[in-house]
């Protein structure tokens, strides 16, 4: 399987980087093809300009490459911190520019944008790993945990990705090394569950 892994955290020593590395290593061990983007490291330009709005827009080589990769992906893994119930701006811009009409979705009917969209992504599953410094109960109660519906419904649901799993690790700032190791083990387990070894036979 081709799996796209997208990471958005500015600190190379971050736990987000450790999560992404665990995903990559586990996917590689399982024999999958990995397309990895560390958006900060690559200095991805997150600004959608007006000329890129439309389906037939001329795209930069960088955006074109991202669009091709996401089109052909069998699986998608996203890793980012919870900043204000949303992804960091660089990843928001990746959504704005790469999850495009004609690539990730299209409109049924008039195609003027007011219709109901139809998903075009062929990926069967998307996994989102988040880090947070807010307790789960408070995140839900005080803030409504917007990231859940943003990724599950606004992005992947709309684009036709049926299987969705999200794991928010918290509280990272106060975590011990032991706890983080446990979380990375859990990360590998999640990847194994959704993207198992290629040669592994299904039980008969």
């Amino acid at each position: 399987m081709k799996v796209v892994v997208i990471l958005a955290h500015p600190d190379k020593g971050s736990f987000n980087h450790a999560i992404a590395l665990t995903c990559i290593n586990t996917l590689a061990e399982n024999g999958h093809q990995i397309i990895f983007h560390d958006l900060y490291d690559e200095q991805f330009d997150p600004l959608l300009c007006h000329s890129e709005f439309y389906k037939k827009a001329r795209l930069t080589a960088c955006v074109r490459k991202h669009c091709e990769q996401i089109s052909f992906a069998d699986g998608i893994v996203i890793v980012h911190p919870n900043w204000w119930g949303q992804p960091p701006a660089i990843l928001k811009g990746w959504i704005d520019r790469v999850i495009r009409p004609g690539v990730a979705y299209e409109f049924v009917g008039g195609d003027k944008g007011e219709g109901v969209p139809r998903g075009l992504l062929k990926a069967r599953s998307a996994i989102v790993f988040n880090t947070s410094n807010t307790k789960s109960g408070r995140e839900k109660r005080a803030f409504g945990d917007p990231l859940e519906r943003i990724w599950k419904d606004c992005v992947f649901g709309l684009c036709g990705v049926r299987v969705f799993y999200r794991r928010m690790f918290n509280i990272v700032v106060a975590s011990t090394e032991r706890q983080r190791k446990k979380w990375l083990k859990e990360t590998a387990g999640i990847i194994n569950r959704y993207y198992p070894e290629k040669s592994r036979k299904k039980p008969s």
Copy 2:
């Protein structure tokens, strides 16, 4: 009153620009001091880097200016389209960089980030205008309308801004000029309600 108006849309001919202009004109007519930022026009850099994470970080002159302005604002008006249940990346980056610890909030207790935040903004009210090409019912049902809690709770609630009002205009792409004029009249009415004429006496 000092009112900060933040606009995020790449097309100068957009309805978002018309909304922002209506806000500015109405605020000016009512005798308020306006601090206006068209983030796309100013090419605001939305990328929070690691060195900016901490309270005592060295900030760029641009971010420092934004922080001072938001600190002293009595009112805040935000204008942006609904892109994936979130603001455009440029505005997400404005949140990431300007709504900072020590400026907009601080942590009670250990101040290591795992505590409960306390709002520091002195603005008494924040108004958010959104445009959308999704019907309100579908936005709530299919996507959960993440923008409501993002702005109301994740951002302004956390930062101590008690009065919040949001208006989503839809469906913009299929709207008539008459409809848009009506919406701009409504925009002016909302501004008049929250930021009335300075000299207007309260009814005795």
